[in-house]
Symmetry: C2
Subunit: 658 residues, 2 copies
């Protein structure tokens, strides 16, 4: 195997550990709290998890460890999509095991959970482990998406665990995989088996977090990798001054990645799916919002920009959500009939007959190439593969159409040329940042200590992550504590609740506070490539999301972009293209929104020549009684000399629908 210079160098990196974990194992004691409750549906969950429900939180502290030196046999599984740092989790487990007792053994199940079901594994030894330290990827043992769900699968897993005499199985995975881990832990105990199950919170999507899990591993590295290339594209856009770049970002349903990248790079637009859903924004309204900004920038002769789009967006747009649901239903019921159709035209004709009128219209309104993506690549259950839909191209197509109309109407005078990008696979297997390298190693070592203590049904938890690593707090969170009941495939299932972007959370608020300035006044930030060496502030900082959530940073919120040239910013901001408050604005209007909002705004507008969104702001300024906030903004904008005016004008928290 040929190694890159960086890979060779990274082998030398010694991940940092919380101080408590650097002690001798004999001196790492377990401190247990009070029994815990699940976050909801306590009665049902208590019933479902008879043996593992309600365990206490545990933390590690300096003290006497009666279990030190135990000889253990542990199996580890990588489950689901790749995330940078997975190899270091395994290294942390491995080093912990060997530190505890050199005769302890670590086995890696091959290809994900199916490795446990099928009894397919390798023993991990020194030399093998060393080849993967501080590297990206899950290639050490491979990953997979099989779930251990059916009675047969569970029985097979038990058989493997018994045959291998495993003291524990450690599952490195996301919310689904850890839900699975919780069930497995329960089954093992219920069957009288001694094999413990410990989870480790993985996912670049950042949607496995809560009070006790500050972030999932991989999110840091993935976001930094995407932000590197987004920043590069921004600098290119600002140099060439002629392209709009539409950048879709991985992240599944949640917009954490898009939001974090926006905080790191300050693009002109970042759509947030959770906000689109809260405001029930249609594709039309999103298009109007984008075109308003594009037109406004064109007025400043800036026919370029960068727009971030979360992967899951299309699922959150009302008409698309319904269309997707109908397609999924239809395919599951009439799959055979559909599969017989030859070609897209035949499929489209068939759908026109079988979908509801609204969905048929929505489908027909899509560009053919995009519409085809709703039908291709369905998953094994016949579901539309949302991640395959080129939302970025869809939006470009809708924007082009709208801008043409605006040009005709005289409300847009710019030039529009665009490029689309999708970043996802670029970041899942990057060399973990120092943060992820340390965090993952600590998570792995913690998983070992939990195992060593004889615990089961716990998620490895390392907290206080914005402090130096030595001050991190390590312990375990009962898996059932993070669970609730949700509707899945037609019935109520126990699941770990997925964390979506909270519209009243600090990261979103920091973004919302600044975005109207970023939209119009080019405020790009260029993070550059992840650095593993060099100054501390360059190579050892956590994400903006984490800093904001933990109340440490004053990052994007302190954006100097506005501060530097406040007069100019204020002058330009007199009619800021408002962020997606279309819905709320409509709600405040006298007549509930039947016609598209922009249209209604236009109808009320005194100056119909303006772009629809900017127009709306203008309209509000003309009719101050109805929209007090906008009025205040407009009023302040009259006094451009006041430094903070532009900022305040745009500081309204627009989104969260009550």
């Amino acid at each position: 195997m040929k190694l890159s210079a960086l890979q060779t160098a990274r082998y030398q990196y010694a991940p940092k550990l919380p101080a408590v974990l650097t002690a001798k194992l004999e001196q790492i004691a377990i401190e247990a709290g009070k029994p815990t409750q699940s976050m909801a549906n306590q009665a049902e969950l208590k019933e479902l998890f008879k043996h593992t429900y309600g365990k206490p939180m545990v933390n590690f502290k300096k003290g006497k460890n009666p279990n030190a030196g135990k000889k253990l046999r542990v199996g580890v599984i990588l489950s689901g999509g790749q995330a940078p740092g997975g190899h270091n989790v395994i290294a942390g487990i491995y080093d912990g095991l060997k530190k505890g007792n050199p005769e302890s053994k670590l086995f890696g199940f091959l290809g994900g959970p199916s490795g446990l079901i099928e009894g397919s594994y390798v023993e991990i030894k020194d030399k093998f482990m060393d080849e993967y330290r501080n590297t990206g990827g899950f290639d050490i043992i491979g990953s997979g998406r099989t779930k251990i769900e059916t009675a047969d699968q569970i029985a097979a897993s038990m058989a493997t665990a018994k045959k291998m005499k495993l003291d524990a199985v450690i599952v490195i995975g996301g919310d689904d995989s850890n839900t699975n881990a919780a069930l497995l832990a329960e089954h093992f105990v219920a069957s009288g088996m001694s094999t413990q199950v410990i989870g480790v919170p993985k996912t670049i999507d950042g949607d496995l977090k809560n009070d006790m899990i500050e972030t999932s591993f991989g999110f840091d590295t993935a976001c930094k990798t995407y932000s590197e290339v987004i920043g590069n594209i921004e600098r290119d856009a600002n140099s060439a001054k002629k392209y709009w770049h539409f950048v879709k970002l991985m992240g599944r349903s949640a917009s954490h990645i898009a939001l974090e990248c926006a905080l790191q790079t300050q693009p002109n637009v970042c759509l947030i799916s959770e906000e689109v859903e809260a405001n029930k924004m249609t594709l039309r309204q999103i298009t109007d919002y984008l075109c308003g900004i594009i037109a406004k920038r064109a007025e400043n002769n800036e026919n370029f920009g960068v727009i971030l789009i979360p992967e899951g967006l299309v699922e959150f747009v009302p008409e698309m959500k319904i269309l997707i649901a109908e397609l999924n239903d239809l395919m599951s019921v009439k799959a055979d009939e559909f599969n017989k159709l030859a070609g897209f035209d035949a499929q489209a004709a068939w759908l026109a007959k079988n979908l509801s009128k609204a969905s048929a219209d929505a489908f027909a309104s899509l560009p053919a190439a995009i519409a085809a993506q709703f039908l291709m690549d369905r998953d094994p259950h016949g579901n539309v593969q949302v991640s395959r839909i080129e939302t970025e191209k869809l939006l470009i197509s809708l924007v082009e159409e709208k801008l043409k109309a605006m040009k005709k109407a005289g409300t847009y005078k710019g030039k529009f040329s665009s490029y689309n990008h999708f970043f996802g696979y670029e970041g899942r297997c990057a060399f973990p940042s120092n943060f992820d390298a340390d965090y993952c190693y600590a998570l792995g070592f913690t998983a070992f200590v939990l195992t060593n203590a004889g615990l089961t049904g716990y998620l490895s938890s390392v907290r206080n992550l914005t402090a130096p690593a030595k001050e991190w707090i390590a312990g375990g969170v009962p898996l059932t504590m993070m669970m609730n009941m949700e509707q899945r495939h037609g019935s109520q299932k126990p699941v770990i609740r997925k964390a979506l972007v909270e519209l009243d959370g600090k990261p979103f608020k920091a973004f919302a506070k600044n975005r109207d300035v970023w939209a119009i006044k080019t405020s790009f930030v260029f993070p550059g490539a992840i650095q593993y060496y060099g100054p501390d502030e360059v190579c050892n900082q956590p994400t903006q999301t984490l800093l904001l959530e933990r109340g440490i940073a004053k990052p994007a919120a302190k954006a100097k972009s506005g501060a530097k040239a406040p007069a100019k910013a204020a002058a330009k901001a007199d009619k800021p293209a408002k962020a997606p408050v279309a819905k709320k604005a409509a709600a405040k209007a006298d007549k509930p929104a039947k016609a598209p909002v922009a249209k209604k705004a236009a109808a009320k507008a005194d100056k119909p020549a303006k772009a629809p969104i900017a127009k709306k702001a203008a309209v509000k300024a003309d009719k101050p009684a109805k929209a007090p906030a906008a009025k205040k903004a407009a009023a302040k904008a009259d006094k451009p000399a006041k430094a903070p005016a532009a900022k305040k004008a745009t500081a309204k928290k627009p989104a969260a629908k009550k």
Copy 2:
């Protein structure tokens, strides 16, 4: 302006200079060689460049500098596409000027050459300059693609230069821009103006190089940025083990970027446009080649891989080249008629009538979405915008079709799922690598010294780049020395010859030697993100291309992938999917190729069930008399225990058409 931590840190970086340039200006002497000749068409060029043809090469050495201390007024232009390091070129010029005489002034023309024509500029001063040191982008003064060609444009440029009392104009650009610089230098002298013109070799494409210009700036950083994300995708592919990634890479006509990235990351396939052209490979043959490798890997249960595709590929495929030429001609003659057509179907019907039969067939064979790209986004001259064609999707579509057929025929048993990527804008404005930061600063400083010496019509040249910076050689190359006459827009024009990938050059040979192993045996290398700090071998290495061309390195050529498990590799390589030698193989066949080669091979095949390319190799092994090389390969493959067998078997230099 909010700055990232890296940007702030990079401000502190002091670019390295060749030792000769670190001396006091009084001690930097000019050493001139003998008069030079243009690389071809000497008589015509001597006639066209009466005043500037045939100047001597110049080098700097320690000695007496009679011009030290001159007060100078210099204008600088960024021309064409962005390349990392442009800001450092300007910093090098600036620091040189101020070192020479603090009262010297540097002006930056805004938005490219049009800034000179229109007299639009800013004076660059300390604080302004400092904001851009060691950063990516061309945003300091912007760039543009206007050429100074017409009599009016030249007259306007002269007027600006006179009005500003410029001692020199420094043009930072690629082959076209420097051709322009040469013409401007000649015009200035011919008109009796004292304003000198000096060029600086810029372009990420790497196609501005020759004996005196070892590499253009930006190539290093761009390739490293692309290789970072390609490596990450490779690691993801090898972890998930279920996707083929088709990655198109910027680079215009030349495949330098794709080749360099292949040497850095060892993908399964890297197509090289120059080889495709030399072998006159059709889309069909390229598809067969790809499918052969995909099928072979499927046999090893490896239904994943990474394929690199140079941006210009489609221009080099015979039938596409002709199609594009016909479309360009047609659009320039019948643009009005074409522009009246409404919608793609009408356009396609019209083309079917107006193109040659062959091109109409070629057009009709394209998937509709791709075909539409041949018609959209034409440049101002009506030319097809080749860079807008999604060659990566075209190939996916053709591969899918072919694999379906192979599956039916029983010659392919794998699963094929793919993703497409296009990397270009991600790399043009990255923070320059240490190499590019140093190289650019040295190029800029050199441009200043040439200016200070009163020279004109020179390209800044910094050589010996694989040595430490202090050993670099600095000087100037007469622009006319790199020129020849080429057909442009219907007439012979003087141009700097574009450097394409040489099929008998060391970088290509190093790649060709290894690619058959890389194709089948996963040999990915993961370069990771560009590092600016840390170990020397991690953050200060030049490109593989440069190392190989300068005969320094033993990089990919020494690929340990083959060496590590030679027996296994040899065993797997018994029927290697041969690299694109289809053409040559056909040439060796008795009957000149009318039918597609693969078909013909199949016709001769004893074992028709095999995949077409692998089959061909098999066929050759059965009929040793006709294809001696393949025979030798097959023969050696019978002895898998011999370590270098697999390597030798694939070490044949397949490509260069004689």
